[in-house]
C-alpha cells in the first residue's frame, strides 16, 4: 500500500516536471516567433523604401543601370527568403548593394543636396538601426530557446514534442556574439 502510494507520488511529480519543461519550451519558442516577426516588419519597411530611393537616384544618374539592378535583385531576394538564415544572407547582400548605390550618389552633388533624397536616406538608416535592434532581440531569444531544448533533461522531450533548433538571423561577422554578462552581486 505504502509502496503504491510512493509510486503514484513519484509519477505525479514526474508529470508536473514534464509539464513545466514543456511550458517553458513553448514560451521560449513563442518569444523567438515574436522576435522573428519583429525583424520581418522592419525588413518589409525597408523593402518598401528602396524603390523610392532607386527612383530618386535614377532621376539624376539614369545610366548607372548595373547598380540599380543589383539593388532590385537583392531586394527581391530578401522578400523571397523563407528561413532566417537565408533572409540574413540576403540582407547582407542588400546592405552591400545599397552601400554601392549611395557611393554612386556621392558623385552627384545636386542629388546629395536634394531634400527628398536626404529624407529617404535618413528613413533608411533609421530602419536599418531597427533591423539591427530586432536582430539582437531575435538572436537572444533563439539562443535561449536552443539552449533550453538542447540541455538535459529537456533534450529527452524536445524531439518527442517536435521542438527543433531555430536558426539565427545571420549577422555580419563579430556582431552575433552577445557578451557573457554576469551581474550576480
Amino acid at each position: 500500500m505504502a509502496v503504491a502510494f510512493v509510486l503514484v507520488a513519484i509519477l505525479v511529480a514526474l508529470l508536473v516536471f514534464v509539464g513545466w519543461l514543456f511550458n517553458r519550451m513553448v514560451r521560449l519558442r513563442n518569444e523567438a516567433d515574436t522576435g522573428w516577426a519583429n525583424i520581418d516588419v522592419q525588413l518589409k519597411r525597408r523593402n518598401d523604401l528602396i524603390p523610392n530611393i532607386v527612383e530618386t537616384v535614377k532621376g539624376y544618374a539614369a545610366h548607372e543601370r548595373g547598380t540599380f539592378e543589383a539593388v532590385t535583385q537583392a531586394r527581391a531576394a530578401v522578400a523571397r527568403a523563407q528561413s532566417p538564415a537565408a533572409a540574413g544572407e540576403a540582407d547582407g547582400l542588400l546592405t552591400a548593394a545599397i552601400g554601392r548605390l549611395f557611393a554612386v550618389a556621392e558623385a552627384y552633388p545636386e542629388l546629395k543636396a536634394s531634400e527628398n533624397f536626404l529624407q529617404l536616406q535618413n528613413e533608411l538608416s533609421a530602419t536599418e538601426d531597427k533591423i539591427a535592434a530586432a536582430r539582437r532581440y531575435y538572436n537572444a531569444t533563439v539562443l535561449r530557446f536552443n539552449n533550453a531544448i538542447q540541455t538535459f533533461p529537456a533534450v529527452l522531450l524536445a524531439r518527442a514534442f517536435g521542438f527543433a533548433r531555430r536558426e539565427f538571423f545571420a549577422a555580419a561577422a563579430g556582431e552575433r556574439e552577445l557578451p557573457a554578462v554576469s551581474f550576480q552581486s
Binding site: N38, K130, A132, A133, P179, S185
Partner: protein, 320 residues
C-alpha cells in the same frame, strides 16, 4: 534570475508592499485612536485605505505630477524617440514607451507607470544637454529594462505610498506639537495611559522611517539588474558606464525631488542634500554607489573608463 522569475517575484513583492503599507496605515490609525478617539482613528484608517486604492489606480499620473514631468511628442524629439524605438525593439517590447521631460538642468532619468502599456520614460532637460547619443541610449535602455522587468509598477506604487505615510505622520506630528493631544482623552489616566501615549507618538515618528525602509529594500538590487539588462539590450556596456560616470561627475541637484520619489531615478537625486535630509539619505540610500555600478559594467565588458570624460560636443565631434 530569468526575466520570468523576476516578473513573478515583482508581482509577489507588489503584494507584500501593499500588505506592509496596509499594516503601517493600521498602526498609525491605532496610534491616533490611543491619542484621540475612535472617530479620528477610523477617519485616518479610512483616508489611508481610500488613498491607497486611489494611488494604486492612478499612480502613474501622480508620479508625473509629483516630479513635474510632462509629455513630449515625437515631432518635438525625433532623435530621442528614434533611440527609444530601437532600444524597445531590442528589448522585445511591444511598443516604445512615450517620453516625458522634466525641465531641470541636473541630468537624471526614471520610468514610471502601472502597466507596461501605460508606462513612460522621463528624462531631464539636463540629461539631453549633457549626454552623447551613445550614453543616452544606455540610459534609455536602463529605463526600458525597468519597464520590461515590471519594476516600474512596484516602484511607482512605493513612491505614492511612501508619500501618503509621510503625509499622514507629518500631519499628526504637527497636531501633537501644537495641540498636545488636547481635546482628546487620556486613556486610563495613570501610568498605563502614559505608556500608551508614548507608544503612539513613537509609532507616528517611526512610520515614515519604516516606509522608507520598505522603499529602500526594493530598489538597490533592481538597479544592478536594470544595468545588466541595459548592457544586454544595447550590446554596449561601455555606453551605459560612460553615462553613469557622467552622472557621477555632475554636481547639480534636481529641484523637484522628495524622499518619496528618490528610488525611481537612475541615480540617487538626494546625494547633495544637507542637514537632516542628508542624514536620512545616507542611512537609507535607495541606490548602490555609482562607482560600484560602473565597476560591474567594466568587469562585464572588459574595459576601464578614464576618471574624467570629455564634454558631449567633443565626443560627438570625434564620433562624426
Amino acid at each position: 534570475m530569468t526575466l520570468q522569475q523576476q516578473i513573478r517575484a515583482n508581482r509577489f513583492r507588489t503584494f507584500l508592499v501593499l500588505v506592509a503599507f496596509g499594516l503601517l496605515i493600521a498602526s498609525i490609525a491605532g496610534a491616533v485612536y490611543t491619542l484621540y478617539n475612535v472617530g479620528v482613528g477610523a477617519l485616518v484608517l479610512g483616508i489611508g485605505v481610500a488613498y491607497g486604492i486611489y494611488a494604486y489606480i492612478s499612480s502613474g499620473r501622480m508620479v508625473a505630477q509629483l516630479t513635474g514631468a510632462h509629455p513630449v511628442t515625437r515631432e518635438e524629439w525625433p532623435e530621442v524617440y528614434h533611440l527609444i524605438d530601437t532600444v524597445s525593439i531590442a528589448a522585445g517590447m511591444e511598443a516604445a514607451p512615450p517620453l516625458y521631460v522634466v525641465d531641470d538642468p541636473a541630468p537624471n532619468a526614471f520610468a514610471a507607470g502601472r502597466t507596461p502599456a501605460t508606462s513612460y520614460v522621463v528624462v531631464t532637460r539636463g540629461l539631453l544637454d549633457e549626454m552623447s547619443k551613445r550614453e543616452l541610449e544606455g540610459v534609455l535602455a536602463h529605463e526600458v529594462s525597468h519597464i520590461r522587468n515590471r519594476d516600474v509598477r512596484l516602484m511607482t506604487l512605493a513612491a505614492v505610498l511612501v508619500g501618503v505615510v509621510a503625509l499622514i505622520s507629518d500631519l499628526l506630528a504637527r497636531l501633537l506639537y501644537f495641540g498636545g493631544g488636547g481635546g482628546g482623552r487620556r486613556r486610563g489616566g495613570g501610568s498605563q495611559g502614559w505608556i500608551l501615549l508614548v507608544l503612539a507618538i513613537v509609532t507616528i515618528i517611526l512610520a515614515p522611517l519604516a516606509a522608507v525602509m520598505i522603499q529602500m529594500s526594493l530598489s538597490r538590487r533592481r538597479e544592478y539588474l536594470a544595468d545588466a539588462s541595459a548592457a544586454e539590450i544595447t550590446n554596449d556596456p561601455e555606453g551605459l558606464a560612460l553615462a553613469l560616470r557622467r552622472l557621477e561627475l555632475d554636481q547639480q541637484e534636481l529641484r523637484h525631488v522628495s524622499q518619496a520619489t528618490a528610488h525611481l531615478y537612475i541615480e540617487t537625486p538626494l546625494r547633495n542634500a544637507s542637514g537632516p535630509a542628508k542624514l536620512v539619505a545616507g542611512l537609507f540610500n535607495t541606490h548602490p554607489p555609482l562607482a560600484a555600478r560602473i565597476g560591474v559594467l567594466e568587469e562585464a565588458g572588459g574595459f576601464r573608463l578614464p576618471a574624467t570624460l570629455p564634454a558631449k560636443d567633443d565626443v560627438e565631434a570625434a564620433g562624426a
